[in-house]
């Protein structure tokens, strides 16, 4: 990692446990709950929250994975088609309370795409949103129901979430965008959807 660390592995663990309690509390139980992680880092986060609910409530909540690639609003703007990672929604979503899980909430465009994708699969009772980090700068009228950590940022900064399952270690860091072509291009790409 190269940037300033804003969450350690322990803080991520505690935030995940708190999110799991909040989700169950808001639902007044676990009936009809389903966690759906947005590819890519939302998926391991959703699994962790489900593991925590199992530990505290003794209930095994179904976990799904959602790929939003085909629903991005910037497909015509990126230089090359992004990798498609696959969608899996065990048991379907009809009538369930869906908790969408993602690592970072930024412009809100990812969540817009995710909701468009979800309604193509059925009619959930409700859709709620849980994120590990909310960094502000929304471009759409979307807010999170459950937030691990609110982090004030500027648009010139990048928030990077690392998870053991995808990156080999846990941690969240923030770094200033340099003029390096790679970071700038990645940031432009992310702003249009993330």
């Amino acid at each position: 990692m190269t940037g300033r660390r804003i969450m350690t592995a322990d803080e991520i663990r505690r935030a995940t446990i708190r999110l799991s309690h909040e989700i169950v509390e808001k639902q007044a139980g676990t009936d009809g709950l389903m966690l759906i992680g947005i590819q890519r880092r939302g998926v391991p986060l959703a699994r962790r929250i489900a593991a925590s609910i199992l530990e505290h409530e003794g209930v095994d909540i179904p976990v799904g994975a959602l790929d939003i690639t085909f629903y991005r609003d910037d497909l015509s703007m990126v230089a090359q088609q992004p990798v498609v990672k696959g969608t899996e929604l065990p048991g379907g979503i009809d009538g369930r309370t869906i908790i969408l899980v993602d690592d970072v909430l930024y412009t809100g465009r990812t969540i817009r795409a995710a909701m468009d994708a979800l309604v193509d699969f059925g009619r959930p009772q409700a859709i709620r949103l849980a994120v590990l980090v909310d960094r502000g700068h929304r471009e759409l009228p979307i807010r999170a129901d459950h937030v691990g950590k609110n982090v004030p940022t500027s648009r010139e900064e990048l928030v990077k979430v690392h998870l053991e399952e995808t990156d080999g270690e846990d941690g969240v860091e923030i770094e200033r965008m340099v003029d390096g072509a790679g970071a700038a291009a990645a940031a432009r790409a992310s702003e249009s959807v993330a």
Partner: protein
């Protein structure tokens, strides 16, 4: 046509001996793009082709990318609403100068499943009948707003001419005797999906029948040798003319490429048997004595299939002449994956439309 001087129908198949060696499929390593929020993750090996004219220009990595993208499209096809907005607002024009049902409908469904706007033009009911040239037709279609052109033509090479004129992407849906790339890719996809281990590398694949007139066979030769199959072409000598030269140079490193009229030897221990349609319209030219004799000597019957490996896959690009190149009970038998080929065709064509749509226009 130059088919007499160049019976294999290729400009010079031996000129390009750099058939890509098979590269074992690896997981997609995430590349050097920082994991910024949900920035699109770039392909490990990007898609760079603006057109799909044949499979000879595709590397083993390209083939792998098409196969993995088709996997995602199969998942889309299994959804309650099998439609995603990936190509929303794109104009796709389907221009067919030859009769077709399955390929044209397959492309149309693929484009619609991606929410593209589709226009169909059959040359027989268009200004082509008033003498409009191919280049003029293509210019007109582009001026009308088409961004992708799916084209079938009876003349080998016609889509290459169209690609020189058209500013968007051209997909070859079959040109003369030359190429039918999406068929070859859906065939490869079907084999990989059904063969144990998920790969055709080292597998014995037999293409049986009228190889001479078959664009399906020619495209399959490129993709199957690139994917590392042991390839056998089998049929009457009159329908194999010119392919020995290709076989002499075309095999991938360490693999076989055999041309024979001995059906027993070709089918022995085969993993895949692909029967080709006998193109009845060619029979007048004296290449075959009769359909009955062809069926008796080269038809894929249950008895002949018994010489292949147990569970060998039976394929056919369609449309079939049942009782000629393939017996009805074999075509409908347990080993047949012919209807699966049709379903996979939609997924493969969705994958290609999606990948080509990401490449900038000229």
């Amino acid at each position: 046509m130059t088919d007499v001087a160049d019976p294999a129908g290729m400009a010079d198949p031996s000129a390009d001996v750099s058939v890509p060696a098979i590269v074992p499929a690896v997981g997609v390593p995430s590349v050097g793009v920082p994991s910024v929020d949900v920035a699109p993750e770039a392909q490990a090996v990007g898609w760079r082709h603006r057109h799909l004219l044949d499979v000879d220009g595709l590397s083993a990595d390209d083939l792998d990318l098409v196969m993995r993208t088709a996997d995602a499209m199969r998942e889309v096809l299994a959804r309650p609403i099998a439609k995603v907005p990936a190509l929303r607002g794109r104009n796709v024009t389907i221009l067919f100068y030859e009769a077709s049902t399955r390929t044209r409908v397959s492309f149309e469904m693929a484009a619609k499943n991606l929410t593209a706007d589709v226009t169909n033009i059959a040359a027989s009911t268009s200004s082509v009948t008033k003498g409009e040239s191919l280049v003029d037709t293509v210019r007109t279609i582009e001026a009308l707003g088409a961004q992708m052109l799916i084209m079938r033509h009876s003349a080998s090479g016609a889509p290459y001419l169209a690609a020189e004129t058209f500013g968007g992407s051209v997909l070859n849906a079959g040109d003369g005797w030359h190429a039918h790339p999406t068929q070859a890719l859906l065939d490869l996809y079907t084999m990989r999906a059904r063969l144990p281990g998920g790969s055709v590398a080292g597998r014995k694949v037999v293409i049986l029948g009228d190889v001479l007139h078959s664009r399906v066979a020619r495209s399959n030769i490129w993709s199957l040798t690139a994917a590392g199959a042991d390839l056998w072409l089998c049929g009457p000598p009159t329908l194999l003319r010119g392919f020995e030269a290709w076989a002499g140079r075309g095999a991938a490193a360490g693999r076989q490429f055999t041309v024979t009229s001995d059906v027993g030897a070709a089918l022995r221990d085969a993993d895949v048997v692909m029967a080709l349609r006998i193109q009845r319209e060619r029979m007048a030219s004296g290449l075959l004595p009769s359909l009955r004799e062809y069926a008796a000597r080269y038809g894929l019957t249950a008895e002949r299939l018994a010489g292949a490996k147990p569970g060998a896959l039976v394929m056919h690009p369609g449309p079939m002449n049942e009782g000629v190149e393939i017996a009805a009970d074999v075509a409908a038998g347990a080993q047949s994956v012919i209807t699966e080929q049709v379903t996979n065709g939609v997924a493969i064509r969705m994958a290609l439309l999606y990948l080509l749509a990401g490449v900038p226009r000229a």
